[in-house]
Symmetry: C2
């Protein structure tokens, strides 16, 4: 008997249960269902019971259990977003506008970093799918075969952002990195540069831009892009080192340097200034991205503008209209880009 009493006490010790709709209903003198209705569709409940319910809700401090709701309704109001890095403003800015639009429509965003490895991404995708998101946002168009398969099997909308492809998993919104870089090469040539170099980060899209730039520049001028440096990631330090590396390659004065990102370009600008070089006459520098600071460096940075806010909101809108499934959503959405000529090149 003493034993039984002990057990009872231990059970009691479990901190008091969270308040449920049942509890709220009891206090308001109605059933659980009515509480549920009062929250999801207040018009379907009489004014007076509604009042009793809302009173009971803030008397008890009731917080709806979205987990239970999701299980019952088969709708989580959650969307997953997978980006390589959240500390890279280029990705976080797009996600921020994406999240903001989704939130306005009642969705929360479960955000994770995948790094740049598709295998890691695949593992993340599985974890995310287990939370039964109503949609998934992915960065880039390269994913493992198994990832594609899981996504397809999950039967929910998927947007891939930052790139365009003829064969998206479902929807893609982005722009052609090849075209953007090719146009940068055309910009260089039409501004009279006969020599070019590249400094780029090691991620796949940066490499693709670099190649496209080099190819188009050679095509246009007949002269190969002689100087190239590759660095791990985009940082001021790597930009400065990049210019020094190029100089180590005996880069000719007056060369046009295409950087894979504005940050790298900014680093080169700083290094050039520190060395007493004049930009663009000694070195011409072009960035990529048109980040907020690009217009305010000295000299201001010529770059390729990509509308990150639009990227995010377009992705959100695509998903949203996919949920309504009234009108069919275009599978490939090209938001384009824009060459911005300022003073660094």
């Amino acid at each position: 008997m003493g034993c039984i009493m002990d057990t009872t006490n231990l059970t009691r010790k479990k901190t008091s249960r969270r308040v449920t709709m049942e509890d709220v209903g009891k206090m308001a003198g109605v059933s659980q269902v009515t509480v549920s209705r009062a929250l999801s569709d207040p018009d379907k409940v009489s004014a007076k019971t509604l009042k009793k319910i809302t009173d009971a809700i803030d008397a008890t401090g009731f917080v709806p259990n979205a987990i239970a709701g999701a299980l019952a309704s088969q709708k989580s109001n959650l969307v997953s977003a997978l980006v390589p890095s959240i500390t890279n403003i280029v990705y976080s800015a797009a996600v921020a506008s994406f999240s903001s639009v989704m939130r306005e429509h009642g969705y929360q965003v479960l955000l994770s970093e995948t790094g740049f490895d598709p295998a890691d991404e695949e593992a993340m995708i599985l974890t995310h799918l287990s939370r039964r998101p109503d949609a998934v946002l992915l960065t880039g168009i390269h994913h493992t075969a198994k990832a594609r398969k899981m996504l397809l099997a999950s039967d929910i909308p998927v947007v891939e952002i930052w790139d365009v492809t003829e064969s998206p998993i479902d929807i893609c919104v982005g722009f052609s990195h090849d075209k953007a870089a090719a146009m940068a090469a055309e910009f260089a040539v039409s501004n009279g540069y006969g020599m070019a170099a590249t400094v780029s980060a090691s991620d796949e899209r940066a490499q693709r831009r670099r190649n496209a730039f080099e190819m188009r520049f050679a095509e246009l001028t007949g002269t190969k892009v002689e100087y190239a440096v590759q660095c791990e990631h985009a940082s001021l330090a790597n930009g400065r080192a990049g210019l020094r590396a190029l100089q180590g390659q005996q880069m000719t004065p007056g060369t046009f340097v295409f950087c894979s990102s504005d940050v790298l370009a900014h680093g080169m600008l700083i290094e050039a200034n520190a060395q007493g070089l004049t930009v663009p006459s000694d070195v011409a520098i072009m960035g990529f991205g048109d980040q907020e600071f690009a217009a305010h460096t000295e000299p201001s940075l010529s770059t390729v503008r990509v509308d990150r806010a639009k990227l995010g909101s377009s992705a959100a809108m695509a998903l949203l209209s996919r949920f309504e499934n009234a009108v069919p959503v275009a599978p490939v959405n090209d938001i384009g880009f824009e060459i911005v000529k300022r003073t660094s090149a």
Copy 2:
């Protein structure tokens, strides 16, 4: 009859149900529970049935339903993180290290932006709590009374980061902004500066630093901080404008300028260079944060180092050991800061 058949067809049209543990079990010739065990505790299942189960899992493409799991076990393996802005690297870096540690321990992070308004934060908190996170991470120590109440009632661990206070909701990990700014003032004085100015963003912590700097500087030198400019947010553009504004206030050459962030300081550096001014003799500039770029500006930036990665991981570890509830967790964790003297001041 025809009517009934139609209805049946419509029902059938609902896309084929997702595969459940029940389905997997059926295929493997075991019950649903055994499947559950096979996944959560493989040792408790015989080798041969385990094999049959794993075979069935990848034959069917089964993806566990974490929603149902969370409802049944009363554990979501989800933690909420609320930050003012995810595009501000200062916050996203801390969250990235936080997430990384949490993920290693099986938790996913539900991240949302709150902006800088406590009322907005309160609304977000409610939404997040409805997902029944196992813990919550908050930025700063100022929250509405209702927010505190909800958090307390939720009875889950809460970490507040970026600041320390004697009365955290639960746990806080950060540093004293007052002390950091006061020490920046001491740095200025001990380096011989007799005049000071401030340029700061409008958020609460930045203002607190500004005030603490001004107070300590006046205390030490007997001369009031004459020049001050405030701007909406930290950006290169606002840093450049800040220097010009200070000049508009007839700031004496050789003044020490304390900026509320490295980005603002970097902007000032650029503006100074553009004007042909020499730093630090014409203007001395100090930043705050020691972001990655601070060592690579020209001249390199003196600043106050805050270890953002440690901030995030400490917060994660505090929560984690709170989950184990073996040893009690210290309610206030001060990770400190460090004055970094480089060449801009």
